[in-house]
């Protein structure tokens, strides 16, 4: 299979669904003629034209609110929120409207929409353009949440998300856009809620998501040289959350480290840990550790930013401590 970038996979993943289903439409800022500020919508405007790919004003509430109204009435909108930090500008729709309308109408209304957004740090964009905020969405029952780590998963998860009758937030990681991987075959779909085992190992389980998958894999390589075999689980989705895969791995390894980019306080890893501390308590041979973002805003300077987001070195350090436990 040919290689492609994660960035290319986004546009390709959307295009594949748009070809299959004429009700799939895109809207967002600068996604049309400009092809996206991250170049993640390249080719869409050319192929599908202005009735399928819509440039919007800077109106995040109108973007997501209109997507919701359209999803309630026969379309499958794919709305882009340029940086995930800006989800805060339309948070009412993500938190109070979209995830609740099916429930509060007793099932009368469904909202098959996708909100895509560029998430995460590492590029020196500062406090308001660098956050990993997948944990914000995780606080809201009623949203499905995908966060791919490879180009193939981007395409497969976008397919599942766009076809889903439930609302899905897809977190594309800014730090991964330039990364490469095999292009998946036509028809590739990754069902929502199925973690993948990115690396097998018997000594410790590393649970990761999106940007932290390559970090965990890199740490695992170094640890292997020291004789510690880490199993790396790529959750792929936060909702549905594939705890079965995590607990099964833990049954083999007895040790758990969660590697997450969002801040430690309120991070999604805490929920994973709390399930394990309940249902997997007897499997544990050592404390559970979380390598997470520091509880500070994201600093601009690259040297500072590297100190507050997870690194392979921190993972290696923490696993070393657990192994010695």
């Amino acid at each position: 299979m040919a290689d492609m970038t994660y960035r290319e996979a986004v546009a390709e993943g959307i295009a594949r669904e748009m070809r299959l289903d004429p009700t799939v439409v895109c809207l967002g800022e600068d996604i049309g003629a400009a092809e996206g500020v991250f170049k993640t919508t390249v080719g869409l405007f050319k192929e599908f034209g202005p009735t399928r790919v819509w440039d919007t004003p800077i109106s995040e509430q109108a973007i997501v609110g209109a997507a919701m109204g359209a999803a309630m009435t026969g379309l499958r909108p794919v709305a882009e929120i340029m940086f995930s930090d800006f989800l805060a500008c339309c948070w009412d729709y993500l938190a109070n409207e979209i995830p609740k309308v099916r429930y509060m109408t007793g099932g009368q209304v469904t909202v098959p929409l996708v909100v895509r957004t560029a998430n995460g740090g590492g590029l020196g964009f500062g406090a308001q353009h660098s956050q990993a905020v997948e944990n914000w969405a995780f606080t809201v029952p009623g949203l499905k949440i995908a966060a791919p780590s490879t180009p193939a998963d981007v395409i497969g998860l976008l397919a599942a998300a766009i076809r889903s009758d439930d609302p899905v937030v897809v977190f594309e990681h800014k730090g991964l856009f330039a990364s490469r991987g095999p292009a998946p075959p036509a028809g590739h779909v990754v069902p929502l809620g199925q973690a993948s085992i990115a690396r097998q190992g018997r000594d410790v389980t590393l649970v990761a998501l999106a940007s932290t998958v390559p970090i965990a894999l890199q740490a695992a390589e170094t640890l292997a040289a020291d004789g510690i075999e880490a199993e790396v689980i790529d959750l792929r989705c936060l909702v549905p959350l594939d705890m079965r895969t995590v607990l099964e791995s833990l049954a083999r390894t007895s040790r758990l480290v969660v590697v997450e980019e969002n801040p430690y306080q309120g991070g999604w890893g805490a929920t994973v840990v709390s399930i394990v501390a309940d249902e997997g308590f007897e499997l544990l041979d050592a404390p559970i550790r979380r390598v997470a973002g520091e509880c500070v805003p994201l600093p601009f300077a690259d040297s500072l930013e590297a100190q507050v987001i997870p690194t392979a070195a921190r993972v290696i350090d923490v696993v070393g401590q657990l192994a010695a436990y």
Binding site: V25, T51, W54, T56, P57, S59, E60, Q61, A62, V64, G65, A66, A67, M68, G69, A70, A71, M72, T73, G74, L75, P77, D92, Y93, N96, E97, P99, V101, R102, Y103, M104, T105, G106, G107, Q108, V109, T110, P112, P141, G142, S164, D165, D166, G193, V239, P240, L241, D242, M243, R244, T245, I275
Partner: protein, 316 residues
Amino acid sequence: MNDLLRMYELMAVIRRTEKAAYDLFMAGLVKGTTHLASGQEAVAVGASEALRDDDYTFATYRGHHHTIARGATPEACLAELMSKATGLCGGKGGSMHLTYAAGNMLGSYAIVGSHLPMAVGAAWSAQLRGSEQIAVAFFGDGATNIGAFHEALNLAAVWKLPVVFVCENNLYMEYTPIASVTAVANPAADRACAYNLPASIVDGNDVLVVRSAVREAAARARDGGGPTVLEMQTYRHFGHSRTDPATYRPSWEVEEWLSRDPLTIAAAQLSKEDVAAADARAEKVVAEAVEAAKAAPPAEGALTDVWADGSSTWRT
């Protein structure tokens, strides 16, 4: 039956349904809170009469009138308020979230202004599907000061969407007069200039006037003429919500508006006999609805209806 009589009867049904809701509240059979629309019935009924059945409407927590006007039964509404399984939303929504999707009444939303962008989206969808449907958002005067209002009107105007923005200006937000917190006199109509949209100020208590204003706006929308802003002048007869005695309103103002009750205005143009008959029918429908709703089984399914497959499973 002539149009006006039919509309009168629908308003009478709404009025009595809300009266029943109030009484049931006092009897402890309705919980939570309710926001009565008594006094504002003409907006809902006049507008609905001007719409096609497949047009979309979106309303607020003060949405009993809009729900019934689009075809929901008093029984289903009251059952919802009484937390019954037969309620419109199976008891999961309550007064603030009445929804009747079968009648294209796509919901009542309780975050002020949130549904305006949704209506814009429904109109966009209709335009893309070439269905010639339109969408209508009903909202209060207070909603005109929130960001979502601005974003919705601009997007609708730029994309020239088939949507009508209907403000029910009842002079008050919860307990505070809209005039005290708004930079213009007519909170909706005086904002249309900022979006290059046509606007009018409408007597919201005269159901025929409402109907013709919405007809005109709907026709413009359907013909590709884009959105319209309609500001309906109206008044709520009661306080903001169950717990509000509305003492902040001068009694002359209340009296003046009570004398302009939309039912009275419509009745004045009908024969006494017709009105009496309509009232009797309305009385009967609502009385039966109350009994049926009372007899219905309680709501169930706290853990259903989150996902399209009916479940609420979020993990393995």
